[in-house]
Symmetry: C2
DNA sequence: TCAATATATGAATAACTGTTCATATATTAG
DNA sequence: CTAATATATGAACAGTTATTCATATATTGA
């Protein structure tokens, strides 16, 4: 495998890109955040939570799917610090974890021309 | 499965969330876009392309991995409208497809405090 | 304490995805 | 035309992930 022989300008870009490539760990962390909204099932859950905090059954109503499937996804989202939860009587109330998450969802909404 | 009996405010939110939930197809489309940057291997490729257009081997240099793996990922990215390509002699030159993609990557960079 | 409700979770399965290896295609130089 | 270079791609495999089913736990009301 040999480096292709474009104009030097391109070589320059390649070097620059390699140099500026973020650290492995950072890349993985951001990738994980985006992964949360890269599956429709989770994206819907997070969209629902943009309305404000919701209990599990209300999330199920809004986002669809079975209680079990939603619960599994919520656990995953929580494990990745994307949602948080608190108990209120019989219910567990979920909400978006931080502004980081809100910002990413806002961008998604812009792309969707979302009216939320 | 019965609707939980929170305050009416919560019921309201659930209805609103269900009502404002984007269409299945739109959700899938956005999910696909974010999916592209939800795996380190692709995220690196896209970061490299923020420098400007690059041929495959230069992408390999910058993002790592084998030529074959990168080529497979490029095909996937192109199929999803995230990168585009043009031939220039022996080389195929790739670039980010549109401002949509640039915006998403910028957000990722902000989260990373990326200096690109 | 007992029944009902809300939520979580382990195990199994099915579907999906990334990588590798070998090979094919396309372009250019000689 | 031939050799070398650049890129693409099919098949196989491994790893990951979403869903389902059954069941467990926790809370409340009677």
């Amino acid at each position: 495998m040999k480096s292709c022989n474009h104009e030097a300008e391109h070589e320059e870009k390649a070097r620059s890109a390699a140099l500026n490539m973020p650290a492995e760990e950072e890349t993985a962390r951001v990738a994980a955040l985006f992964k949360a909204i890269s599956e429709p099932c989770r994206l819907k859950i997070l969209f629902a939570l943009r309305q404000g905090e919701l209990c599990v059954l209300h999330i199920v109503e809004a986002a669809g799917g079975t209680q079990s499937a939603v619960s599994h996804q919520l656990r995953l989202l929580k494990a990745n610090g994307i949602v948080r939860s608190r108990r209120e009587g019989q219910n567990i109330i979920y909400s978006l974890a931080d502004e980081h998450v809100v910002a990413v969802l806002s961008l998604a909404c812009e792309h969707l021309k979302c009216r939320i």
